[in-house]
Each structure stands twice: as C-alpha cells, then as structure tokens.
Subunit: 479 residues, 4 copies
C-alpha cells in the first residue's frame, strides 16, 4: 500500500536505456525511458552522439515533461544513452539528473547509473584530497573521476579497471562521442538486458523497454561484464570475475519491475502470481472476496484468488490522473476520508469478508486509512496479505528503507503491525516462500529480509551523507 | 479497444461539480473535478463566489494543469461550479472552456453544461437575428441568451422557463454571485447527483465525485427538476414535467462512468460485471484465459470469467504515463509493433486460447493491431467479446459516433468486422443483454443501438456545424 | 517625472494598427504594434483573415511576450487589425484584451478601439435591458452590440449608423473576414493615419508605425470618416459631419506620441522643442546646466537649452531594463535613495545650478525624491520646468487623471507644489504657450487644462464604473 | 553603430557583484546585477550563504527573467556573489552560467569571473592530463581546479598562490560558506570597486552598482590584490606585485561602462564628453546639426556639439522595447528600410548637413543602412565621427574583435570604410586623442588600437577554442 505519499515510500531503482547503431537513436531512447518511467519520476536525461558531436537534454520531472519536439532537433545521431532517476543518493536537483556529462582530457564522457556504490564516499574523499572537484552530490560521479585518472586512462582495459574499483550495486551505461558501453557489477545486483534492433543494439534495465522499441531480447549483460558497442561491432568481456553466487535484488521481482518484464530470467508477473498462491497457502483465511491494491498488488491477488478459490473482485478504483500533478492542500481533510488515488468500490465490499493483497506496508498509516475506508464501505472483515516478508534490515545497494524502519523489522511484531493497521488478520510471505518459487533461489539477495549481505556493508554510503554532514550544506544549484 | 488515438474515438461526456455552503468551495470543486477527469480532458474551469464577487479560472488541459496554488488565492468563497470538458460542440479553444461567464443586466452568470442541445442552432440563429452576439461556438451559450432575454427575465420562474425552451440532453449548473442552481432535462439523459457536505450541498455528474469530497449521496436531481441552493436553503421544483419514460443514456453505464459511481440508480461496476456474464452466455467459447483491455474492460472481463469458468489473467499491461503527454513522432513505426499505452504480457498469452473483453470497437484498426500483438506473443486463438451491441445509429445527445460509422452498423456485418480485426471469433452483447440486467430497462435510451429515439432528432445539431458551414470560419480565439 | 510607479501615473492611450492587401499581414501588424508599444503595455492582440477564415492571438503583456513564431503559422492572411492596450475602462484581464472577436448573425467581427465612449454605460444598460450579454468590461464592446442590432444591421450604411450612436473619443478599427474598416470620432480626438504599403493600405495610431513597416504616409483618417478597405479598393465616406472645430487631444503632443510621429499635422519632437523654448521664455532662470528626465523630457530640454543658452547635459542615466520586469521588494529602501530606473550622474550636477525639464508632475513624490537625489549628488540649485500647464480638470476621453488630482489643480497652487517637491523654482508652460506654437490651435482640446470641454461630459463613464458599483463584482475571467 | 545584430558585435565584459555582512544579501546583489545588466545579457546567477549553507539560482537570460520572488526564499544569508554574463569563452549554455559552484575536499566554492585567462588552455590541459574533469567550457573553471590542487590547498595563501598562476585579465569573486573574496589581475585590466554598505561591504564591476544599492564608494580593488571579507572583517593583501604600469582596458571607458560609473578613476561620461570635443578638433566639419546614435554615442555627441558649436539635436529615436525580445522574421524586408531599434526623425534631419557621432563601426553594414535612412529622410550630408580609433589588433583579454576584422584595421583604410558606409566624411578619434584626456594615460591598455600588448598574447585562448577543435564537439548540456 505504498506510493501514496512521496515522503514515506521505499526508494525505487533508476532506469537505463542505451542504443548504438540505431537511426534517430533519441526516438528509441525516449520510448525506452517512457516504458521505464515506473523506475524513476524525479528526472530524466538523454545524451546522443553522431560520432562527432555529443548533445544532451536533461530536466527535472517526467520523461514527457522533460523532452519536447525541440529536443528531437537537438539530439541527433545513432548512439546515445538515457536515464530516469529516482534519487538514491543526491537530492532532486537538476545537476544531479543523469546522464552526467563531463569533459576529460580525451573528450566528452556521459555516464548513467542504476545502483548504489558503497565505496563512493571513500573514493570521493580520496579524489577530492588529491584535488578533484565534484559538480554533483551523486555517488555516480566517482566513476568519471576514475575514468579520468591517469592510473586508468593510460593503461589498457581502462574502463574495466575503473569499474573494478567500485564496490556496491551498479548497472552503468557509458558513452563517448562514438561508443556506448554497458556494465554490471559482479554480483549482478541490478538488471540490465541486451536487445537487437535492426542493425544495432539496445540495452535496458528491463525487457519491457526492449519490447517497447521493437527490439528482440538477446541476453542479459552478465555480472562483471563490460559490453562495448562501436563501429566495429559488439564486444563483451569480463572486467571482473562474476561472484560465485549472484546477488540479484529480489525486490526487483517484488515490486520494482513491470509485470511484463523478464528480470533475472524470471517473468515478473508469473513470479508475483506464485507469491500470491504461496500466500494463500501460508496464510489461509475464510473470506468472500480477494481484492488488490492496484496496480502493484494485481498479480499476487490473482494468485491468491486462484489458490484459495476465493473470487477476485475489484474493490479499489485507481484514479489514473494522480501521481504527477499539483495536488491541492488537504489540510485536516486527509483524515476525514480523502484519498486522491484510490476509491473504494462500496458495492463490492459491502457486507463482505475481504482479503486485501498488496506488495508492502511502509509506514502503515496509509494501510490503516484504507482499511478504515473499507470498513466505512461496509466490509465485514479485512484480512491483509503482503506478497513479501517484512523488511528487517537496511539495504545498501540502492533501496532506501530508512523510512520503513519505523514500522517494520525488530521494532514491531507482525501482531503489533496488524493492530496498528486495524486489520482482522495480517500475513506476510515467508522468506522461503519468496525464494523457493525462483528458478535459482541462491542467486538472489534477500538481505533486507534476512540480514545476510553478499558484500560487506560496513562502508556503505547513505543517501545525502555528505550533504547533511558538512557545514557548507548541499551543493545546491537550482536553475 | 478505444482510446488509443484522439481522433478516432467516441466523444465522451463532460463532468460537472457544484457546491453551495461549503467553506473554501474551490477545494471541493477541484477535488470533485479531479475525480471526474475521465469525463473530459480537454479543458477545465472553476467559478466561485463569496456572495459579492465572482471569480473564475479556466484553461485548456487537465485539472492538474489548469489550476495551481495561485488559483486558490483567487477563487474565494463558499459557492461555485466547475466543469471538465470533452468537446461535444465547439472546437477545443480556450473561449469554449466552461463555465461560461457573462454579464447580463442583472449581474454575472456562470453556466456549465453536460449534454447536447438539439435546438441550439435554431435558438442561436433566432437570437443572432435579433442582434445577439456570441463569444463561443458551443451550444451551451444559448442558455445565457435565454436567461438574459426580457421574455424570461421579467417573469417569475425565469430560469425554469428558459430551461424549458431547450431541447436535447442537458445537465446544467448555473451560478450567480450568491446562488447555485442545478437542472436536468425532462428525459434525464445525463446524470446529476446531489450530496450533502457539512452544512452545505454539492452536485456532481457522478457519485464518485461526491465520495471524493467526503459528501454523502442524497438523491439524483430529477428529470425536469431545477434545484436552487442559496442562503435560504435548498429548493427543488419541476421546471418541466418529467418525460413519461426516462431516457437515461445507457452509454454512461457501458463506458462513460467510473466503476465506483452510482449512475441512474445502478452501480456501474456491477452492471458491467453482469454484462460480462451475459456475454459469456450469449457468446460462449472454448478458451484458456480471459483477459481485459484495461481498465475499461476490467469489470466485464471479470464477469465473463466468472460465468464461463475460464480463468482471468492479466494479458495487457497499461502504461499509466500515457495519455496526457507529448508523444514523440512514430513515423512508420506504429505498424512495426509499437503501442505506447498497452504492452502484451507474452508469458501469459503464449500458447493460450485467449478471450479478450473490451467495451467497444471503434474503427477496428487498434483492435486489429492489438490482436496481432497477441498472436506475435504466441496466442493460439484470439476471441473478442464486446460488452455492448454494435452502434448502428447516430446519437444526438452528446456522443459523437460520426467516426465510428466507418466500421460499425449497417456498413459492416459482425462477420466482416471479425475478419477485419483478424479475430478467431467476435461476439457483441445483445440489446436484450444490455437492457435486461438493469432495474428499469425502459427508462434508458439505447437509440444508438436500436434507432428508437426518445426525442425527434431531426433538428439535432452536429458538432462544429456552424463552424464549418460558414465562410467566416471558426470563432477562433487563441489566447 | 511620471512613469516610475504603475499606480500613480496618467493613463495612456491605446495603439491601433490595421492592414489590408498586405501579404503576410500579421508581420506588418506585429511590427506596427511593436513601434506603438509606448501607447500600451498591458495587453496586445492581432486578428487576421484570408478572406475566408478569421484567426486571432491575444494575451496579457508586451507585444514581444504575446506573440511567438507559432503565432505566425496561425495568423494567415492579407488583412488584419491589431491593438496594444493601456486600460482606460476595464481591468487588465485577458478577456478585456482587444481586438474583441464575436460572432453575429452575419459572421465574425473583430473590433479594436482607442478612446473612451462617454455614453457606453447607457448603451450597455439599454442593450442589457433588452437581453444582451457582455463578455468584457470594456466600453468598446457596445459597438459590436450596435453592429448586431437589427436596427442597424438591416439598413444601409450600417457601420456608419452604428458609429454615429457613439459619444466620446474613438479611433476604431473593425474587421470582418474580408474587410477592414477604420473610423474616427467627429471631433478627431484620437489620431489615426492612413498609409500605402505596396498594393495595400495600412492604418495606424501614429505615423511612426507607418514608417516602421515601410509604408508611406497618405493622410489622416478624417474626423467623422469611415474608411472601408476591401477587394474593391479603398473607400472613404463621412458617417457623421466633422465637428465645426476639431478637438484633437493636445496630450498626444505633450507626451503620448513618439517624437518621430506626425500627429494632427504636427511633428511631435518639433512641438516639444518649441514648448521647451517657450518655457525658457516664460520661466527664465539663472543656471549652469539643463538636464532632461529621459526620455520624455528630451525634446523640451533641448528647446529650453537652445533658447536660454544654458548648456544641455545628461544628468540622469536611464536603466533600459526597467519597466517590464519583476522588481524585487524594496521595503523601506525606496526612501534610502533607491531608484531602479534613473541614476543621477553626480559628476555632471555637482556644484551646478540645474534646470530639470520634464513633461509632467503626477503625485509629486517621485519628483521630490529625484530632486533630493540631485541635491545629494551636490546640485547647488534645482529648478523644475514642466512642458505643459497643470492639469486642473478631469478628462473624459480616455486619459485618467483621477490620481493626478491629489496634487495638481485647485487643490494646490504652483507654489505649494514647488514646496512639496522641494525645488528652488518651478515653472509650468502656460495654456497660451501650449497652444500658440500649433498650426491650428483652435482644433485642439485642452480641457484638462482649461475646463472647456468640446462635448458635454456629464454622461462620461469612469474606468471600472460598472465593475465597482455592482455587488456581483467584476466579470473576472483569469485564464 | 553596433548592437543591432547579435552575431556581429564586439563581445562585452561580464558584470560582478558581491556582498558580505549585508542583511538579505540577495536583494542587494539582485539590484547590483540589475544595474550591471548592460555588461551581459546572456545569463545571470546569484549564490548566497548564511555561514552554514550555500544556495544558488542561475539561468539563461536577463536578471529580471532569471530571478523571481521564489528565488528570494531560496537565497538566504548575509553574504553572496552574483554574475551577469556575456560569453567570452564558452557557449551560451546553462552550465556555463556563473557563478560556478563546486565541491572540493574542503567544501563548497563559488566563483564568478570577468575577463579572459590567456593560459586557461594550458592549465586545463595540464589538469585534464592529471585526471581532472571539467563541467563547463569556460576558461574560468581552471581557477577552481587550482584551488582544489593539493599544491595550493595545503599551503598558506592558497587563494593568492592559485591566482598568481593565472595569466590574462581577471576580476574574480570567490565565495565559501562563510567568506567572500575579490581579486584583480596585476595589470588591473578589468575594473572592480569596493563599497561600504551599513556594517558590511560590497564589491562591483562598476560604481553605478554601488550607488544602486545605496553603498558608498571606498576605493578600487588594487591590481594584484586579494580582498577577503569574513566575520573577522575586511582584509586586503597583494597576491602578486602590481605591474609597474597598469593596463586598464580603455574600452571600458569607450563603451562598456555606464556613463554614471567611475571606472579606473575616471567618470565615464566626462571622458566621453572629452572624446567628443577632441573629435571636433581632430575632424572638424561644416554642418547644421550633431546627432548621436543613442544611447552609446550621447556623451561624445554632446562634446562634439559643444566644441564645434554645431547644435545638438535628436535624429534617431530608440525603441526601448527592442533588444530582449523575440523578433519576428523580416525575410527580405531588412533591406527595404526596416530597423526595429532606431527610427530616423525625418523632420530633424531633412535638408540638413548632419554629423553622426557613434562609438564604433563594427562590420559597417549597419552604419551604411542607417546612413541610407538618413539620406532617405532628406539629410543633405552625412558626416560620421567615431569616438575611438579603428581597432586594428585582436584583444586577448576578453573583448572579441574577431568579427570586427572584416572591416577595420589593416584590411581597409579609413577612406575605404567611408566609401563602404557611404558617408560624406568619416573621422576616427586618434590614439593620442583617446589617451591624453585621461589622468594617467600610461596606465591603460590600448593594444587593440596600437598592437602594444602589456602581456605576451601568444598563448591567448580564443573563444570556443576547445569546443570547435575537438572531434567530440561541445560539452553541450541543454537543460
């Protein structure tokens, strides 16, 4: 039941899309980013090149707000990379919008990043100590300093060597005037898929973006792989050994990715359907209808209904115009029963014992409000089923659970949460239920549920770390 | 499978919201219009009053685009009316955005209209002949000329007398500096519901808007009724006898209204669920899954699944960011398999015999494209079921089927349509199936399906009629 | 020393520009309005036609803000009219921006007006009484009601008959889809000049606009004349007898018009030069330098210097970026010596006896502040010379002296004003000095100085009259 | 006769304004920049601090466009620096707008620069070689790399040492979270003045900005001086020995600076007045009137008139709305006699022998067009007098004469230029006439006239040098 209030939800991943050898690359990148919009709504940018010149357009807001017909005249060329951003580190300021574009001694570089670099802080400090200046407050900027570092620049496999200095989660797209590169951390924490489009290639965070542009899925970029696309063709190599066991972020399946994407070899909808079925097994209940919190709970609700035999119905109607708009002040009215996003379908829930399936409980206040609405509409009972376990541990690879901790984890038991949200019953999916439906359960990171980290998190960098700890305040450029 | 291209879909109704005796009325009107946004995305306006002064803000675009925090400082007062517009008559120009605000001898009047006046053309001509000037090209403007006409102005029951001159479909909201009025045509063609909010009252095209603002549904404004809200309270009276048989527009149930609304005494979701069940009875099929064209086909698809026993699944994923955005050019790519709005969930439909439930086929090209996508995704069979009959006759009360006629009705048989869209089978709901699930089937107009009009349509006014037939062209003010 | 504060200056005239038979008429109209921008900065509009369709673009603000390259694609055709507006009646709301465009029974009419109609209130009341509705709060709208009135519409010389109903000052441009008309009141109060451009004609409030578009000045539109331009050519006729004595507004020469314009047969710069020379004769003074309040006092200061032999110098520097900008708050700082528009050139005035020549004193506070600045800069003496007499009487023909009366006229003597502004001496031009340098002094209205009105002012309509006197407040459409 | 076409005029200087210890420093900086707007219209930025946090607002366009009331809430604090930009190096892209704000190891630095660094290219190359990345294409960015360089950072007098590495012309403002610094190159090429305001201090490129904010002029920042303002007070020190002879840019006096400024100890208006007088001596002529090309020629024209005894008159009227606006296309009409900026006052020049005084001839085409207009208006003779010598040599310190060279200098003789512009006579001020009226003529750089450079120009960096010479094109971020 997340998403209703900007300040209280888990941070999402960013989205990447790159193209090489694609006529009017900007058009494909635009459409690719458009289909990845669910991964980040705070900012978007596209950088393209025609082999000679590099051009970029970036801005705060949605893809459809940032780019206009005029962008098209600007963004010439057959190669390029794009990014949609949900802040992991760095505030939502324009200079933090990616791709980052800089000039080194050997020309212009553009960089787009999805993930979280746990050693960004120490690298930043090291480079600053030796005289580097930083223009953004994102962790991603350290990569361009590595690339520009003579240590790497003057030696073979420069980009790979630079990447191998990074710790943490990353899918990177890099671009020079005549080349696009894609890379993934050795644990394969974040997804990145390769597609074929005409004579060229595209890469994207999710396969839904490949399909959107009419590209055929080829394979995933491998953990530890650097993929180079230039006029000589497509070349893959390992910049680092893949980790013995991958650590794909299971949260991508739980709720980041779009249901029609293939992520880490799994179809997202199918996985969530199975989660719903597992939930029905793990937490059965006597009820009249199963309803979903749309759209994130749809697949799991369908699975719950199928397994339990309790009929699915539509108990919430979603207002599709919410989410990107100026919202009028609702001072004191929120508690009176106002929900701009979801409306209860009274005729469906009246007198019914209702199972509500959702993918998460964040702070619990939204869940409680919606449960109250269901009761006001006449629901006889409200049983909440969550299609993942409670998050009990912080994530250092790009998901911001800071605000979650109020409610979840050791702080409260499931029973305490149930009481808080005023549900008749509450059931979370078990860790076993989360992993066992997957084809390769050992290749996933579920540390936020289990505390078992694939990588030492001690050096991890929290969001805004250097912003808030310094007296000089944030590197704040508002344009 | 409508809605994908702005130029080829059926015209929708407009949405109305009025409030009297509500502190900061603009806030409630804003939220009410927000929940009626599905009834019109082309323009929006709010007019409020504090008993002394009348203020208005209007603009082209969505509710969230037109109004800003600044609007709030402007729109003072405890009474007001608002409108979201989908053009029925009049082009999408700013001066056609309602509410219309004018000054007559007795002060400022604001008018908002949902419907279509079939005698607007002759009234307009008559008033112009006697010297009137018109500022808009909407049919709604004739009402303010009637109100200003000394014939009506100087006699009792002025507003009612003026309204009784109008032929066609209408729900009207009117406002002066200290009064809000609501009226509905004698056939009750368009919906209009009354709610109670604190010490005041609100009126809205659909009950979902009442719920959005926390108001309790009281009753519908009756056919032929004029409801006056002022400092003396709420007063209803009949300005005209209600028609012996009402002629509620059945299309409101088929697809205009939101599923959580109560319209003409029927819950929209429940009706559509029943339509889906009827469809399963009328056009049974051997299949593996039932999928909906989201979101308009959801309720009927659920009904079809329930009745037929064929499992429901999610075969299309809807991109929620489509629909209100600048869309990049897709020259020559549309046919290559690009659909910015819906993506096929390959893993769901692969190898399956699929029933697709939708609420309409407009020109058929979109349906055909989506069926092709399903087959490309591996669907073994595609069976299309439409939750209403084919529209075979024009509507003169506010729904623009002009562009529909290419395909539907006498022009083509169902079999011809099936061939065109390349479906394995195609079934439309019968007229009997459309009306019999309703509590009072005789009180509905289904003329677009049956040709039986409640009112002589010979004088009906087509959209843009006077615009295109005059040499001087449109009354085109672009601000 | 006017113009420094928007609320305390005399209202200016509006500017008109029309074209017929000019390819891409919008371009000429744009450039014409651009050179008439000094006559009105609150709003601008252009309406054009190609013989078939009529298109318009209007907006609040400067000509360069309202029109864009996109306007050009819209505004097709070889005929059109344009307007820049300084409110005389009506607030600065978008719907009051002219040209007004309406539809009557015989098609679209566009109207642009410079002047003030003293019987607008009674005509408006009369038409409203008989049922007319008004969309603006300007006095100009009554003309379209006259034109639409069957009384006039069905008879020959319709436009001329309608115009002859109007009392007050007016230069009008009218347009239908294939015709442009220009008319001037029988007293010739406001200027209007005819020019030849290629095969076509243009009309403009001032000849500087003719020159700007490369047109040759032909003659003035005559008092009481209606000029019709259509495909049959240019036709002039008298809709009313010219008044025995014209009543050209002498304020056009004093400060409305641009120095390079020929207005009422007089070159504005030359007249002001003569005013400066007369001032030197009427109010001689021993001084070291003559300085102007730029730019309005430039010509008169030059004349004063020439006649007196006292050298001209530049004592004020004008910041050209002031006047159209967001100005930051200056709370409490204004009095500390801040003037965003004019800076004193200390090195010029230090130790000097300074004559300051300006065209008016409005409230006196600005004059006083600037005199203080001059003294702070070291001026030994400050002598103020004003190039017109004190305004002692209201103007009913388009100039708003309401706010002037605080200081000028019977309320204070010249000596009292001198004391208030803290000048060492103060001299106003005499009425004799104002009129005698003109070629036909008897053809001018100087009623604001003399109280001798050419027309009975008893019915005059003050600005915002019906707006403020009605309980229902203004007809306020903010778009 | 410059300024009429953006692409063909000499580049102007930038403007700087800084404040320390001034409550609501942003207000003073805004007003200071506003009065320095003539020094740069392409972009503006303000950075402020409250001792803890640093905030900035920057944008493309005029001061009044970039800042809004909202900027005020953002820009808290009692210290800050601001910049208006006319590109010297770097394209007009948003990331090139100054102040530059970056983060080094010791916190946030903001930098604003007026001038041109002739060794920026080699410093940039050196730092890039050692791994630095650059975010802008301006020469100014090298200073922040110097400041961050451990070579300088770890040693005393860090800022001074960094500054002493720079060659070329510079006035710099620097800022950290609690300190403002001002510095000037050892030759004093660009102006920078210190003022006292209340308990605090301000620095500005010209004294007109001090006066605008109510500050008292204290003294100039000295050549080679670094001025530090922090909570311990105001501290000046020499980071470099002042050059034995200063090299103040004489072009500041000729046309960059505002007439009411004191620059290099000279009042600009007085100097130009003397130039006009010298011109009258050096190039006397028999004529009837002297006219100026407003406003840049005003002071010199007055001097010419005074010395020659030929009366001054106003022959050109300037449209104050030109210069910051969207200008409509004038295809093919420019040559027909259209000048959106200046209009000829026919009545003044008709039949007269006219002396036109201006401050420069750039390409000559504008001069020729205006001379033709004067003749069309009836001028009997046109004599052109230019208040500086012909520019015969490139400037490496911030003035872009690249485009001037077409006409001026060795390429053409004065007689050839006269013929080209079709003047009856043409006279330029002599170098002797340029320098001898100054109090310390030896302290000025007139290299563009004489070729005698104060500094070896061989390493000078032309505008866009690295942009155009690199295959990877410009560092182009369009936001």
């Amino acid at each position: 039941m997340r998403n209703d209030c900007p300040g209280c939800e888990a941070r999402e991943s960013c989205g990447l899309f790159g193209a090489y050898g694609v006529p009017e690359a900007c058009l494909s990148i635009y459409r690719g980013l458009f289909s990845l919009q669910h991964r980040g709504q705070e900012g978007a940018g596209i950088v393209t090149g025609d082999g000679q010149r590099v051009k970029s357009v970036r801005g705060v807001g949605l893809v459809s707000d940032v780019f206009s017909a005029r962008s098209w005249k600007e963004l010439k060329g057959h190669l390029g990379i794009g990014h949609v951003r949900y802040s992991t580190t760095g505030s939502t300021l324009i200079q933090n919008v990616q791709p980052i574009v800089v000039e080194c001694v050997d020309g212009v570089w553009a960089v787009a990043h999805n993930g979280n670099l746990v050693n960004a802080g120490e690298l930043r400090a090291m480079y600053q100590e030796s005289g580097a200046i930083f223009q953004t407050s994102t962790d991603s900027e350290v990569l361009v300093h590595l690339l520009a570092d003579p240590m790497f620049r003057r030696r073979p496999h420069r980009v790979g060597r630079a990447l191998s200095e990074l710790k943490g989660s990353f899918a990177f797209l890099l671009m020079t005037r005549n080349c696009v590169m894609a890379a993934r951390d050795p644990f394969g924490i974040r997804p990145l898929a390769l597609g074929a489009l005409g004579q060229g290639h595209v890469v994207a965070s999710e396969t839904c973006a490949l399909r959107q542009v009419g590209a055929a899925y080829v394979r995933d970029v491998e953990p530890g792989e650097l993929l180079v696309m230039d006029e000589t063709g497509l070349h893959g190599s390992q910049f680092a050994e893949p980790a013995p066991r991958a650590a794909h972020c299971v949260f991508e399946l739980v709720y980041f990715a779009r249901p029609d994407s293939l992520v880490f070899g799994e179809n997202v909808h199918k996985v969530r359907l199975r989660y719903g079925m597992r939930l029905a097994e793990e937490h059965p209940v006597q009820a009249d209808i199963v309803i979903s919190v749309p759209d994130s709970g749809n697949s799991a609700a369908l699975g719950f209904s199928r397994k339990s035999g309790i009929p699915l119905d539509f108990g919430f109607i979603r207002n599709h115009y919410v989410g990107r708009t100026f919202i009028m002040p609702l001072t004191g009215q929120r508690e009176q029963g106002v929900d701009m996003k979801l409306s209860v379908l009274h005729e469906v829930v009246k007198g019914q014992r209702v199972v509500v399936v959702d993918d998460s409980i964040v702070r619990g206040t939204t869940s409680r409000r919606r449960i109250r609405f269901l009761r006001q509409a006449g629901a006889a009972e409200v049983h909440v089923r969550i299609s993942c376990p409670p998050t009990a541990h912080p994530c250092f690879y790009g998901i911001d659970f800071a605000t979650r901790e109020e409610l979840a984890a050791g702080a409260r038991t499931v029973e305490e949460i149930r009481k808080f949200i005023e549900a008749d019953s509450l059931g979370y999916l078990s860790v076993e239920g989360l992993l066992s439906p997957l084809q390769r359960p050992n290749d996933f990171c579920a540390a936020c549920f289990t505390g078992k980290y694939p990588l030492d998190p001690s050096r991890a960098q929290g969001k805004k770390d250097w912003e808030t700890n310094r007296p000089d305040g944030e590197l704040g450029l508002n344009l």
